[in-house]
Subunit: 409 residues, 2 copies
Amino acid sequence: MLIVQKYGGTSVGSLERIKNVARRIAKFKDEGHDLVVTVSAMAGETNRLVDLVYGLSDDPDPREYDQVVSTGEQVSIGLVAIALKEMGYDAISLTGWQVGMKTDSAHMKARILDVDTEKIKKYLKEGKIVIVAGFQGIDEEGNITTLGRGGSDTTAVALAAALKADLCEIYTDVDGVYTADPRIVPKARKLDKISYEEMLEMASLGAKVLQIRSVEFAMKYNVPLVVRSSLNFNPGTIITKEDKEMEKVLVSGVTYNKNEAKISIRRVPDRPGIAAKIFEPLKEANINVDMIIQNISKDGYTDLSFTVARNEMKKAVEIVKKVAEEIGAEGVEWDDTIAKVSIVGVGMRSHPGVAAIMFKTLADNNINIMMISTSEIKISCVIDEKYTELAVRVLHDAFNLDKEPEEGE
Amino acid sequence: MLIVQKYGGTSVGSLERIKNVARRIAKFKDEGHDLVVTVSAMAGETNRLVDLVYGLSDDPDPREYDQVVSTGEQVSIGLVAIALKEMGYDAISLTGWQVGMKTDSAHMKARILDVDTEKIKKYLKEGKIVIVAGFQGIDEEGNITTLGRGGSDTTAVALAAALKADLCEIYTDVDGVYTADPRIVPKARKLDKISYEEMLEMASLGAKVLQIRSVEFAMKYNVPLVVRSSLNFNPGTIITKEDKEMEKVLVSGVTYNKNEAKISIRRVPDRPGIAAKIFEPLKEANINVDMIIQNISKDGYTDLSFTVARNEMKKAVEIVKKVAEEIGAEGVEWDDTIAKVSIVGVGMRSHPGVAAIMFKTLADNNINIMMISTSEIKISCVIDEKYTELAVRVLHDAFNLDKEPEEGE
């Protein structure tokens, strides 16, 4: 098998850990697999480099930022290759430009355009283990680019897609994707399998095991993805195309997000173009709006609520106050003590009544729902922040997530 | 003017120092010069990276060593460019491969073969200050190479040669090249000008202001070199072609070297091929031999002495003992409490009697000469180590090196 593996910064955070990673890689090589391995910078190293840059400028040149910060991965790939060679395995490290990881020129958040596979294939044919720097690439002009934080996951998936690898394994410090945060729900169960779509909803909601862009990429190119722990040999969670089996399950997981804040505009005149008037200036200020709720109007007025990232609430409120005055709304309210609790599952598509179970469960536990938003495979409720853990636990119970789904359920 | 400047690791050793270097570069830019600037890794950084590598392997793969260690300069060029941009100057950093610094594949000690000037010239034409990573290059296969310690000087000279720069300035923490080590001879005088040949003899003898290979390179391509301090705006020392003026000066400087040890073989049978028998095995063991003295033979036997680096003496003695037995010599003696004191000057070529003055001066001060070796522009004497400082001082006096050479002397 051709396997692409990715090890994060914690996995290569010290020389001892690098040796561990090398032993793990060697084990797979011994089993007869061809291996392409992506590694992140040693834990702490990227922060050190970023601090140097911002020590010189609050608004550093993005090209030079990438020039500096990309060295973190260059160091770790060299070290992993050295550790493997020391163990008697033939390995070679390749930076983003050496491998031909072509990106656009959007420094600090570049997107991968194309991956040259010629060099990697040549080295694989020679029996070498190929270690590729994550997080980085090269643009058309020969400038070094970086993919933004967490970009090493995307590097691994892009390599797997380009090489048509049999498997892309993302190693992290958890055993896989869980039905809920195990710190909140001790009974949370590791999922054996989850669909790309579900993973996307989980990731964006705070289950931070995988970089969201890497999942999009995997979905687009149909790369079989596995998230597993670098500390043991447990099988992890497979992230793959939706299949019949998955659809039988009502809900795959419960997630939450405490990093949002709610803003409401009272008595907005219900005229065409009003929503644009409100959200255009927010967009211009680069404020990301998540949920938007507008109820039917009464007497030509409506209430409009939305959520933004908590650290952008102040800025957003200032903008919205001005707009509210302009359009003749009654006033603006805001609240940063909220949380969003969501249930995710492709089974919702074919099983009606999932929302009703969620609302009843929250009501039975005296948890008031402030906002509701739904998608095909997700239902989110905004509630008072202090009930977050309780809500996650009772929902986990209500959908029996601690139990392995039964055949034909 | 097109000026190539090089700043060492101490000059960019902290963010504060990087800002200082940026201000200095900006000053030259303000004066209307075109600037290409080479920087070393931040002081301590190369050692940190080397330690990481040797923490994994006592004999690391040289290609991977270069992959890791070359990141030090990549960080510092990015930071210098950021500091310049922050001051409002247009700057761009280029790694060895981005600039097209082509080397052979001798990792850890690569030699520069060719420098692409196209990219640099394009950026200069755009008014940019071009910051180039010292110490590194790229081989034909696209592997990163390093030039070995001190290689940033060579990078600067190679750039100056390829760009046909008007000047190559090497910035360091001393004001220039002195007639002797100022810590030993407080009256030591900074030289305004010195020939490439003299500098080569001085450098190899321990006046460690300049990497010796960079001087060879400058001599070969006739690059006007200046060594000066990054801490002030003093003019420094010009290193250039020998001229009439220089030839009038008997001696330019006095240097010493305490890092050698002496080995003597007593009563070597004086047969053809004997020297080869002795020095071949040393060469095979990678031991560098410096001075070799063989006196005329008596009764078909001769004594043979030579010096090696002090930390290689033990290894050398072991080898030589074996050889001595094989060839039937009387025995081997060694001494690591010696020093080599040398006077250097192109004027020696045309002024007889310089050696005599040196020997008499040492004799007058009761300093015994153990070995003598001469070249066209250098006379070296091996003496007891404890007299080193005294010898340097009395020779400095004897040749009036504290006084500016008079016109027509």
